[in-house]
């Protein structure tokens, strides 16, 4: 930028012919038609979608329009990067949902699209200043520089009452050679000034681009990270659930069919030795089924499909220590949160059975202010702490992925109460 340029005479003289000057001039010139088109685009989108807001077409049109504004902004950033050397970092892309409605909501809620639309609106006055500055400096400069030629060919000259012929400025007629050369000198001065004037004129545009088309500050970055993390967490939960479904409908069914088919084989043969072999094969298949079931339980317990209540009741029933479950949920958390709550409960109950020496345990899940509270209490010896093979650090990691909290109260001698606080959605 201007501050970094040394204003030495050489630079001043070379400026009108430097590559940078021509690029900036080109930028200023193409800005005008682009600004007109962009302004018209923004106007049409806003007017049309406002007009159609009462119909079903209004919001989809606006969403598509914002998407288009985002793409125009991308072109604008590339143009500015190429011609002005102004590198504007694009805003963080929102992760769009797969289905149409979700994509539409993402677009409508994305501030980057709205800011791009705002830029298109503000670009027009900026482009007008470009036009003015380029006209006054480059335009007039060239006209003045070439004045002697114009004079010789009869351009730009009129004849005064006293018979002198040339360009009139406030009654001063530029007709003689020295006077013509004076005009040319003024033209040279204007042309030497032109690069700096254009550069100066681009400053508001650069600021506006960084403000409206660029990446916002830390707060936005944090919000984007939170959003993408929530997407990642939800996505992982959905993937695990799909794997569970695929195993349930695929491999597990085939293995069960295999045990049936082996029974058919056993029915069909009479040789005792061969029948014994088939029975062994069947036992192996059955082991595979059991292992697969345990594996599935570790990635996405099928009971979770029926909600936390069913899943946690089943979990409590499976526990080695008698567990009294109390589950009070008014609204269902998202799948990812359900999964985290479930695995926390599983880990905590396993800890009770392994480490506490408890004879009873209580599991409660309650909701308040949109947060979920999972509490596991036992009548054991206490002294639980992260580490010592307790699985508590892993639990903490799981909980922290969604900004949850883990609270352990376990005085020596007991009882131990562990509370996990989770949001209702990732």
């Amino acid at each position: 930028m201007a501050a970094t340029d040394r204003m030495n005479p050489g630079a001043v003289l070379r400026a009108p012919v430097s590559r940078r000057t021509w690029a900036e001039l080109l930028y200023a010139l193409v800005s005008m038609p682009l600004a007109v088109l962009g302004f018209a685009y923004a106007l049409v989108i806003l007017v049309l979608s406002a007009g159609l807001a009462v119909t079903a077409a209004g919001f989809p049109l606006l969403a598509a329009g914002l998407g288009g504004a985002g793409r125009i902004a991308g072109f604008q950033r590339r143009l500015a990067g190429r011609l002005l050397g102004e590198q504007v970092e694009p805003p963080v892309r929102r992760v769009a949902a797969a289905e149409l409605l979700g994509r539409m909501q993402t677009r409508l809620g994305d501030p980057a699209g709205w800011r791009a639309l705002g830029y298109l609106g503000l670009k027009l006055p900026i482009a007008l200043t470009y036009l003015y500055v380029v006209g006054v400096t480059w335009g007039w400069g060239l006209v003045a520089l070439t004045y002697p030629l114009q004079h010789a060919t009869g351009l730009n000259r009129s004849t005064a009452p006293d018979g002198r012929s040339g360009l009139h400025i406030q009654g001063y007629v530029l007709d003689s050679w020295p006077r013509q050369l004076m005009v040319s000198a003024a033209g040279v001065a204007l042309l030497l000034l032109a690069p700096w004037a254009v550069r100066l004129a681009t400053i508001p545009d650069r600021v506006l681009m960084r403000w409206l088309l660029g990446r916002r500050g830390l707060a936005e970055r944090v919000r984007d990270l939170e959003e993408t993390r929530a997407h990642a967490v939800d996505d992982a939960a959905a993937t695990l659930r799909r794997i569970e479904r695929d195993l349930h409908d695929g491999a597990q069914v085939r293995l069960i069919a295999l045990t049936m088919q082996l029974t058919m084989v056993r029915d069909a043969i009479t040789d005792d030795g061969a029948r014994a072999l088939v029975t062994t094969a069947q036992a192996t298949a059955r082991e595979a089924i059991v292992e697969l079931r345990e594996l599935v339980r570790g990635i996405h317990p099928p009971a979770l499909d029926h909600g936390l209540e069913t899943a946690l009741t089943t979990l409590a029933a499976r526990s080695g220590v008698p567990v009294e479950p109390r589950i009070e949920l008014r609204t269902r958390p998202t799948a990812a949160i359900e999964s985290i709550a479930y695995f926390c409960a599983a880990e905590l109950l396993a800890n009770v059975a392994k480490h506490s020496g408890a004879t009873r345990a209580w599991l409660s899940l309650t909701q308040s202010d949109g947060r979920l509270f999972l509490r596991v209490r036992d009548d054991g010896s206490g002294g639980a702490a992260p580490g010592r093979g307790s699985g508590l650090p892993g639990l903490l990691d799981r909980v922290r992925t969604v900004d949850g909290r883990l609270d352990i109260a376990s005085p020596s001698g007991g009882p131990t109460v562990v509370t996990v606080e989770l949001p209702s959605h990732a």
Partner: protein, 212 residues
């Protein structure tokens, strides 16, 4: 026995039908969803229905819902739920009210087809057939009075809950019929069940045990 099979996996439906037919039973219908199951039961009046818990459209608990409806509409029908997973709440829901003529088995139990047919017979004749794993879960849940049972009595109780007769329990545990009777009398005593018809007390004991 006349049997209806409901499972959305054709490979399992056909395999099971083949095995049961080979053992002299009549599979009157094989269906893939809850709606067709209701129609098939109304049309064929089978002795027993084998029902997969997860069926279309949501693949969650359609089979269980259908089973509860069928118990209401066809009191004489034996119902065997058939699932790849054991969920305690499902068992409790199915057993709510009465455990007569219901069963809940893991699908892989068809590997031992004779046991499976045995369970079907029990369910068809108004008995109970619970998967050992289901029973195990319900046992762990720490039900009233159950804490007082000795390990041996728990074993006997578990087998009773699976729907076994005294003779079958004796055979499984390799003890005499007399020993089993003694255990069962102790169980009745510890669970505080008054003397009455033995079958009735048996059902009560199982229900109390399962907390249903």
């Amino acid at each position: 026995m006349r049997i209806v099979i409901a499972d959305d996996a054709a490979i399992l439906r056909d395999g099971l039908a083949h095995l049961l037919t080979a053992r002299g039973h009549e599979v009157v219908a094989g269906v893939g969803d809850a709606g067709s199951l209701r129609e098939a039961v109304a049309e064929h009046r089978p002795d027993v229905a084998v029902i997969d818990i997860r069926m279309p459209p949501t693949h969650t608990d359609e089979g269980l819902r259908a089973a509860i409806g069928l118990r209401r509409d066809h009191p004489g029908l034996g119902i065997l739920l058939f699932s790849q997973y054991v969920e305690t709440r499902f068992a409790a829901e199915l057993l709510a009210g009465s455990s007569n003529g219901v069963g809940y088995l893991l699908k892989e139990r068809v590997g031992d087809i004779d046991d499976f047919v045995d369970a079907l017979h029990r369910v068809a004749s108004g008995g109970t057939a619970l998967d050992p794993e289901v029973v195990g879960h319900l046992l762990n849940a720490g039900r009233r009075g159950v804490d007082a049972l000795t390990p041996r009595e728990r074993e006997v109780m578990g087998l009773m809950a699976e729907g076994r007769t005294n003779a079958a329990i004796a055979k499984t545990l390799v003890v005499s019929d007399r020993a089993v009777e003694k255990h069962i009398a102790n169980i009745f005593l510890k669970l505080g069940l008054p003397p009455s018809g033995d079958d009735h007390r048996r059902v009560l004991a199982v229900l109390r045990y399962l907390g249903a």
